[in-house]
Symmetry: none
Subunit: 242 residues, 2 copies
């Protein structure tokens, strides 16, 4: 899906924005960048802001017109911050990503971003099948060009299902404690809390309920139970020595 | 919800990024920006890149430490591009937005972004209850700072616009502990664990990190922190008596 989607920038004024767009694309695994009549390209500013996404810049295609840029695409989505007087079929970035998730498997698609200050012209929108609008503060609705590309690319990436492994951070995570281990832990806790004089075992019901709520919520691992019981043991030791 | 969420930037090197962050925030109706030890601020570069979000910059709070920045927050989310060896409860931007949609109605929340090149340090992550990671190309995973803020703010904005239902299980739930309360709790714990002979304060680092992980995961309420500190006090009392 992502390899069938190109990002098209129309008459970008600031080369720095082109570089930042390349970085945003590469972050989200998009590769095809097309520049329609950029003011200045290639340019050191673009390379600097690309921060390592030079490959996107060096393979970028430069065209004279939007028509040429989207010629091979079946689905062309134009982006706009403004409400247009002509009503266009509108998509949010998420709707667009969901649409392309199925459509961009067999078809080439383009998402077109206009000029920094004036967006796309009506004759350019005529080439677009859909209008994409990023939900935002209606009193301050102009996103930076690269920021807009970032949001749209992010939605495409999430929809593509190439999500990072959610479990990465959990690697090496220990086994969760069993119910039996938890019960033994709570028994130990009652004993220790009584030993340190925090409560009488007979009157422990409501306190223990509150403590159970905390530790059950924490979903303890076996090793963590061992750690906590080590602490309980030490607190008891002092009592017994005391 | 959005008015209870602050964006915290830690030791930002490039003032231009601060401006771009302010713009991204204003686009998405976020207002509270906190800067922890920025290299240069205020700065003309920041104002230029803010492109009209000057109000966010002029009301931005500058702090010396992350601890100070998040002291009044009950929910602190750290962002990271790297996989950490210690497993932290991880959220995607969408999961984070869904969480804050309910939690940030009654509680202040902070989303913390680290340095451009090195992110957040481990002692800063210790202050965070969750780790947020933006799904992206695993071979090119470092987003520009403002681009990362844009993605997260966008998800928050989208979530804020939807109808929410407070889940039944959360009704009548007490207030979550603030970061300052949690830190005081951990300080007290170090003291108590040393008093009962469980560990030396100097050697407490890795044990405390494991304990923090447990209690951060449990998302303690203020009253629960009081309960646990009551237990700590009693365990100390016995030592001192002993």
């Amino acid at each position: 899906m992502l390899s069938n989607i190109k990002i098209v920038l129309v008459e970008t004024s600031h080369p720095g924005n082109i570089g930042a767009v390349a970085r945003a694309m590469k972050n989200m695994n998009l590769k095809d960048l097309v520049l329609v009549a950029p003011k200045q390209f290639p340019c050191a500013d673009a390379t600097a802001r690309a921060s390592g996404a030079d490959d996107i810049l060096s393979s970028a295609l430069v065209c004279d017109s939007l028509q040429e840029a989207v010629a091979d695409c079946s689905i062309v989505v134009g982006t706009s911050a403004r409400c247009r007087t002509i009503s266009w079929p509108e998509l949010t970035p998420r709707e667009c990503a969901n649409l392309l998730k199925t459509e961009a498997i067999d078809h080439k698609a383009a998402i077109v971003f206009g000029r920094e200050h004036s967006g796309l012209k009506n004759h350019e929108l005529d080439l677009c099948r859909y209008l994409l609008r990023i939900p935002c503060n209606k009193d301050f609705s102009s996103l930076n060009l690269a920021a807009a590309v970032q949001v749209v690319s992010y939605e495409l990436f999430v929809a593509s299902g190439q999500d990072y492994e959610v479990t990465v951070g959990d690697k090496g995570k220990g086994l969760l404690a069993t119910a039996a281990q938890m019960e033994a832990f709570y028994e130990h806790m009652i004993e220790a809390l009584s030993d340190i004089g925090f409560m009488h075992p007979d009157k422990s019901k409501s306190v223990m309920r509150r403590l159970r709520r905390i530790y059950n919520r924490a979903r303890l691992e076996s090793k963590e139970v061992d750690l906590l019981r080590g602490i309980l043991r030490m607190s008891q030791g002092n009592k017994k020595k005391g």
